[in-house]
Each structure stands twice: as structure tokens, then as C-alpha cells.
């Protein structure tokens, strides 16, 4: 059998949702060759996860197979009896899932979970199994494999759990590895590490990889071939460079265009005034006491940071998870008490409470990250946008209504006033969040990972909206993100933060083209871009 032999063929697959009758996957065909890295790309609702799950017969209740074939080495998988199918799972085809926090059984030790697969499919002795597990854990760079075997899942971070999951699946040396959005829940740096590891392991063992993702950047970096799905249908398939450089289908072109690109530097006239400054700002939290008599520790989240944002400019704060960037943003807005330093707004220090704080609140706002939890589910969109105006003195009721209508129009949601959040999509909800933030025409907006939870094409739309609003209204913005690609498009200056300290700052071009600090370089290297 040649190395390029086709290993798995999906032919005209059709999947239907039982209750609604909707077609989830419609006549999708693709094939996977031995040892190759194939990516299936699509946004939410494209059917990519369902198509992958159908291969292993793991469709959730409510979705059923309505047509097509899946053949592996001549065997028809969709009609396979439960027992032979079970033998296939894990040993021939392995699967890695998305959410590291729930992908490992919290009530079973790591060693026991990893051994399960080996016990089911091989007849190795306990000792041999243990040896293999230790070797694999070391291979995925888990620091203390001996201790890891007896440890519980909750003792490990998201990134480590994904590595353990990977080790667990690759132990069985499957011929095909299906990875369903394995790094979506991780930050950029960890994402890169896990995927690099996956690619290496696969290459070593000759395992084919089927990567399901919505991130074109990752596809560009790792996959040799790509299949593009849109609303359950295959719209394009081919070699990655080909598809990304010269996309044929309109949807693919839309996706490629949605990749954030560096926009030309905006020329600024005159010397801008510093609008808001953090001076030696520190934030520390007390770590919870252990027991009644235990001592409480302190965790320093932000360590004596000096940061200035000028009127009208966008400063991006970048860092990995736990770097303190979110805390910094909230501390500058006085949402989180600072343990040292001060925040100066328009030349006046902002006190933690009192009338000055109230005026400060009127002029500064926050756009939250999670479109699903930043809006009160029982409040209509119009009321949510109207609420901040209640606290503005001197506005009549009619003026308030007019402003709400104006702002909703600006974000492209005119006429949505009477709707509830659950009737809107993620992207639309984020627009509402932005509308709510700018309704009082603030001078300063902090955007905390505003697009991280959105699909790629929606991300582009929302970022573009943000930029146009900034151009119209001229507010200054502190843009917090771990996604360097988004930052590249929108930022004037970039500040890199690690472990609560600023390690590098400068203009966007300077930081992106000539990074000085090792951490910045690592972040840039890990960012998947074209």
C-alpha cells in the first residue's frame, strides 16, 4: 500500500436533526489519506463537528444518519455492528475533544483513565501498560509523570489536560486522529504548543489527523489539505495554500478576507493629550484561606504598572491567560480595588468612591467578553441600551429615546429594541454590548476580549464596526486581547504584559516587526496568521 493511499472516505454524508427535521450535514464528501493532516473548516452551524462524530458513530441523541457512506479500508462504518465498531474506537480511530475542563473524568485518577484504552484493546500486562503511560506522559512534556499517574484531573490546567488527553489517545497508536476544536478553549501560546505536539506525535506514528476548527490561521499553519463547510455543505476542498491563496467559492473568500490584516497607520495631527493614566498601579488578591486557621496568601495580579492612553488612540494590551491584562483593565476603570498606585483621568486622580467616581463612570465604559452573559436575559435590548442614560442628568425622556435609536442604528441593529437577548446571535449581542458602552458618548472605552468568543467572519465585522465607531466618535480605547491577529488590525500602540508587569510597549508596527522581549517573540511566533 502506497503512503498516499486513501484511508477513509466520506461519501455523500447526510445527517438530519430528528426534532426539527433540519438537515445538519448535506451531501458532504471528502477523503483522508494515510498519515496526512486534513482540516475541516467552518463556522458554528456548519456541521463540521457532526460530520466528524458520524465517523465514530458518536452522534448525539437527536441527530440521525439519513444517507451516504463512510468507508475505512473497505469497511462501511455507518452500518457496522456495535461490537466491531467498539473495537475500532480508540484503537484505529482516536478522538480528542474541545473542552479540557470536562474531557477527563473528575472521579478517576489520570493513570486509570489512560490505562483504560490499553486494557480494552491490547493484552499488555499492568507493568507494560504503566511503562507506556509513563513514556507517553514524558513525551507530551508533563513534568512529573510518576506523580501524574496518581493525580486527579482537577490538579491540572487546561493546557496540561489537553496534553494528557492527547497522550491518552495516542497511546493506542490509532491510524486516524480526529481532533474536534482541541485548542479553542486555550490561549494562543498554549494553543501553539498543543498543536505542535499533536503534529509531531502524528508524524512519528504515521497517524492521519483530521482537525476540526473555525480558525483559518491554524489551518494555514498545520494542514496540508482543507475542506470548507458552510451550513452543512461542502463548498470547497483542496490543498491549503491553493485554497487560501486563491479561493474559488464566495464563502471561502469571505473567510479569508475576514482574517485580520494590518491596517495602515492612522496619521495623527497634533500632540494628543494623555486622557487616562495608570501610575504605579498595583492589584493584589488574597488567596482563599485554607481552613479556619490557615494563612491567607496574596497573589499579585498587577505589579506597579505605568500606562498612558491618549485621547482618540487605541492601545492594545496583550498577554497570555493569567498575565493580569483583564485585571489591569478593570483596575483602570476602578471596578476592582487597587492595592497601590493611582488612576489619573484628565489630570485629576480618580478616587475609589464618591462624586468624582460617578463622573468618571459617565465618561468611561467597558465592553465585556462573553456575549452570552453580558446582557440581562430578562431585559429587552432597547432597555439595556437605555439604562445608562438614566444616570445622565439633564437629558429629557425624548432625548434619551432619540439617542437609543441613534446608537442602535450606528451598530446596525435598528428596530431591534423590543427583542430579548436570546433572540439574537453572538455577534448581534456583542453589538448591543458595544451600543450600551457608547450610548453615553464616553471618552474612554475598555474592550475586554470583545471578539474572542465569536466566529471568524463575525469577528471581522465587529472589529470593523468598532473601528468605524472610533473614527466617528473619537473615543480612546484600551483593547485587551490574547489574539494578536485582531490586535494587529486595530491597535495604534501595543503593550505586552506578563505576570502583571509590562515587558514591552511601543507602536504597533514596532512591536510586531521588531519585538524586543522574549515573551513578545513567543506570542508572535504562536499567533497563527497567513
Amino acid at each position: 500500500m502506497s503512503a498516499d493511499a486513501t484511508f477513509l472516505t466520506v461519501d455523500g454524508l447526510r445527517l438530519v436533526a430528528e426534532r426539527s427535521g433540519n438537515t445538519v450535514v448535506n451531501d458532504v464528501s471528502f477523503d483522508v489519506k494515510r498519515g496526512e493532516f486534513l482540516a475541516i473548516v467552518g463556522e458554528s452551524g456548519s456541521g463540521k463537528t457532526m460530520a466528524a462524530r458520524a465517523i465514530l458513530g458518536l452522534l448525539p441523541p437527536g441527530i440521525r444518519h439519513a444517507g451516504g457512506h463512510i468507508t475505512m479500508d473497505g469497511t462501511e462504518l455507518l452500518t457496522l455492528a456495535p461490537e466491531p465498531l467498539r473495537k475500532l474506537r480508540g484503537a484505529t480511530i482516536g478522538m480528542v475533544f474541545q473542552e479540557p475542563m470536562v474531557s477527563l473524568n473528575p472521579a478517576m485518577r489520570i493513570g486509570a483513565q489512560m490505562a483504560e484504552g490499553l486494557k480494552l484493546h491490547t493484552s499488555l500486562s499492568e507493568l507494560q501498560i504503566r511503562e507506556r503511560i509513563l513514556a507517553m506522559l514524558a513525551r507530551v512534556q508533563i513534568r512529573d509523570p510518576q506523580r501524574c499517574i496518581d493525580a486527579w484531573p482537577h490538579e491540572f490546567s487546561g493546557g496540561m489536560r489537553q496534553r494528557i488527553m492527547l497522550a491518552s489517545v495516542m497511546l493506542l497508536k490509532p491510524a486516524l486522529l480526529i481532533a474536534d476544536e482541541p485548542t479553542t478553549a486555550l490561549d494562543t501560546l498554549t494553543q501553539g504548543e498543543v498543536l505542535d505536539l499533536m503534529t509531531e506525535l502524528a508524524r512519528e506514528q504515521g497517524t492521519a489527523v483530521l482537525l476540526i476548527t473555525h480558525n483559518l490561521g491554524l489551518v494555514a499553519r498545520y494542514a496540508k489539505r482543507v475542506v470548507v463547510l458552510c451550513k452543512g455543505e461542502r463548498v470547497e476542498m483542496g490543498a491549503t495554500d491553493q485554497v487560501l491563496r486563491a479561493p474559488i467559492h464566495a464563502y471561502t473568500r469571505q473567510l479569508v478576507d475576514a482574517l485580520p490584516r494590518r491596517s495602515p497607520t492612522i496619521a495623527r495631527t497634533g500632540t494628543p493629550m494623555p486622557l487616562i493614566e495608570a501610575r504605579q498601579l498595583s492589584v493584589s488578591f488574597a488567596t482563599p484561606k485554607r481552613g479556619w486557621l490557615g494563612r491567607s496568601g496574596t497573589h499579585v495580579a498587577v505589579d506597579a504598572v505605568d500606562l498612558t492612553v491618549h485621547a482618540g488612540e487605541t492601545v492594545a494590551v496583550v498577554g497570555g491567560s493569567g498575565s493580569g491584562k483583564t485585571t489591569l483593565g478593570r483596575a483602570m476603570l476602578r471596578l476592582v480595588p487597587a492595592s497601590g498606585g493611582e488612576v489619573v483621568f484628565k489630570g485629576q486622580p480618580v478616587a475609589p468612591r464618591g462624586a468624582a467616581l460617578h463622573d468618571f463612570r459617565l465618561a468611561c465604559q467597558l465592553v465585556f467578553q462573553d456575549p452570552y452573559s453580558s446582557l440581562n436575559p430578562r431585559q429587552r435590548i432597547g432597555d439595556a441600551v437605555h439604562e445608562p442614560l438614566r444616570l445622565v442628568p439633564g437629558m429629557s425622556s425624548a432625548q434619551r429615546d432619540a439617542r437609543v435609536a441613534e446608537v442602535l442604528d450606528e451598530v446596525g441593529l435598528s428596530g431591534f429594541g423590543k427583542r430579548f437577548p436570546h433572540e439574537l446571535s453572538g455577534g448581534q449581542r456583542q453589538r448591543v454590548a458595544i451600543a450600551r458602552a457608547i450610548v453615553r458618548r464616553p471618552a474612554f472605552v475598555v474592550a475586554d476580549e470583545p471578539v474572542s468568543a465569536l466566529d471568524m467572519s463575525i469577528q471581522a465585522q465587529v472589529l470593523a464596526l468598532f473601528q468605524s465607531l472610533q473614527k466617528t466618535h473619537g473615543f480612546a480605547c484600551l483593547f485587551i486581547s490574547h489574539d494578536l491577529a485582531a490586535v494587529e488590525q486595530i491597535a495604534d500602540r501595543v503593550v505586552v504584559i506578563e505576570a502583571g508587569r509590562i515587558v514591552e510597549q511601543g507602536t504597533r508596527d514596532a512591536v510586531f516587526d521588531a519585538p524586543q522581549h522574549a515573551y513578545t517573540r513567543a506570542l508572535l511566533a504562536a499567533a497563527p496568521v497567513l
Partner: protein, 268 residues
């Protein structure tokens, strides 16, 4: 499919009981208290749909009056428990700190007494009366509401829209009333439905033991108690009130399930 059957059967049962209770408040075929020794212990017939008891009283009328009586007691109790429990729960969950710890310590202590026992204890102090029963049962069941409300408030506090409300500049109490409270309604509604059933059962049990509504005023519980001596000789006396309780509880449970299923996916 299954959910709609739930709601349907539950709704029908509860609806029937409600209608009967409301009617009974205004009219019953016979006076529930009217003694007629000439017709004592008669089996069900056209004249007396559910027969008569040892005093010749019409069982059907007494059952209807019992529905009204138990129904109102349960209703006032649930309303009282929900109001009291919500206020305390929101306070504890929102304010936190020492207020929370104190309130929860008292709450846990109250929860350590089984509902009936606490009600009993309070009844001993206040004395047997309908009002006393309502107060006793309210105190016995409010702690459950406090627990649920506090739990919900604690989880809601972490939601970004609560932080957003502060961000806008709303004072704490506005955030609490406008954003937290309305989102507590769903879990409290589900609890209140189940609670109605528990209270009904507790009241029946207390009356059965002779510590609730005292005879001759009829309630399903004390009717069952009176039926014990005639268990074999006058079966209808034992069957009727028990069946009433069982059917009502079944209705409440089914409707509660349907309510939970409907509210769950919408819950934030």
C-alpha cells in the same frame, strides 16, 4: 411529547382541584358540618356521592370543604415562605460577609428540624389554629427558599451583566432589584410548585395526627384519621380523602416537572 403529557395531566388535575376548592368556598351539596345520625355510615350512592361518615355527614361535601381549607392554608404558606425566603436569600447572597454568615447559620439550624417537627414546635407555642398553622409551616419551609435564592444570587453575581450594571454607575440596590431579582424568578417558581405539594402533605399529616386543623372542621388529613376506626367496615371513608391528596399531589408534581422543563433551557 412526554412533556406535554406531563403538563396536560398535571394541569387537568390541579385545575379540577382548584375549581372544586373555589366552588366549595361558596357552595357544597350538603353542609360539611351538618350531623344527620339517621344516615350514618352509608355507602356511596346518588344522594351522597362519596357516602357518609359516622356522624352522617356527607363525605363529598367535607372533601370539597377540605380542599378549600387545605388549599388556602398551603397557598398562604407558600406565598409567605417565598416572600420571606426571597428577602433573606437575596440579602444573604448579595451583601455577603457577616450578614450572610449569620443568616445562613440560623437558616441551617432551622433546616435541621424536619418540616413537620418545626411546625409542631411552633404550633405548641402558638396553639392550634389555622393562622398558627400557616405561620408554623411558613417558618418551617422558608429556609428551603432561602437556600435556593441565595444559591441563585451567588451564581448570578458572577454574571457579566451584573458587573455591567455597576459599570454604568447604578447603586448596588438598583443592580440587585433590576438585574438580580428578576432572574431569580425561575428557580423560585419551580421550588414554589414543589413546595405547595410538601406543605399540603405536611398539613395533612399534622391534621392526621390531631395537631393541625381540629375536627369538626374537615381537612383531608383529619378525615383520614377519623376513618381509621372504620377502615374495614366503611372503606369509602378511608379511600376518598387519601385519593384526593394523592391526586392533588400527582397533579402538582406533574405540573412542576413541566414547568421546570419549560423554564430550564431559558434559564441564564
Amino acid at each position: 411529547m412526554k412533556l406535554r403529557a406531563n403538563a396536560l395531566i398535571g394541569g387537568v388535575l390541579i385545575g379540577a382541584v382548584l375549581v372544586v376548592a373555589l366552588i366549595a368556598a361558596l357552595w357544597t351539596p350538603y353542609d360539611p358540618l351538618a350531623i344527620d345520625l339517621m344516615s350514618k355510615l352509608k355507602a356511596p350512592s346518588a344522594a351522597h356521592w362519596l357516602g357518609t361518615d359516622e356522624f352522617g355527614r356527607d363525605v363529598a361535601s367535607r372533601a370539597m370543604a377540605g380542599a378549600a381549607s387545605s388549599g388556602f392554608i398551603a397557598l398562604f404558606t407558600v406565598v409567605g415562605a417565598v416572600l420571606l425566603g426571597t428577602v433573606v436569600g437575596v440579602l444573604a447572597g448579595f451583601v455577603r460577609g457577616w450578614t450572610d454568615r449569620l443568616l445562613m447559620a440560623v437558616n441551617d439550624a432551622l433546616l435541621a428540624f424536619p418540616g413537620i417537627l418545626l411546625a409542631l414546635a411552633v404550633m405548641v407555642i402558638i396553639g392550634a389554629s389555622r393562622v398558627g398553622l400557616v405561620i408554623a409551616l411558613t417558618l418551617a419551609y422558608a429556609p428551603s427558599v432561602v437556600r435556593v435564592v441565595r444559591g441563585t444570587v451567588l451564581s448570578l453575581r458572577e454574571k457579566e451583566y451584573v458587573e455591567a450594571s455597576r459599570m454604568i454607575g447604578n447603586p448596588e440596590w438598583v443592580t440587585m432589584v433590576r438585574h438580580v431579582l428578576p432572574n431569580c424568578i425561575a428557580p423560585v417558581a419551580v421550588l414554589a410548585t414543589s413546595m405547595f405539594g410538601w406543605v399540603l402533605l405536611s398539613e395533612s399529616a399534622l391534621s392526621f395526627l390531631g395537631l393541625g386543623v381540629a375536627p369538626p372542621a374537615p381537612t383531608w388529613g383529619n378525615m383520614l384519621s377519623g376513618a381509621r376506626s372504620y377502615l374495614e367496615s366503611a372503606v369509602w371513608l378511608g379511600l376518598a380523602p387519601g385519593l384526593c391528596i394523592a391526586l392533588t399531589l400527582l397533579g402538582i408534581n406533574l405540573a412542576g416537572d413541566a414547568l421546570r422543563d419549560r423554564l430550564d433551557p431559558r434559564m441564564p
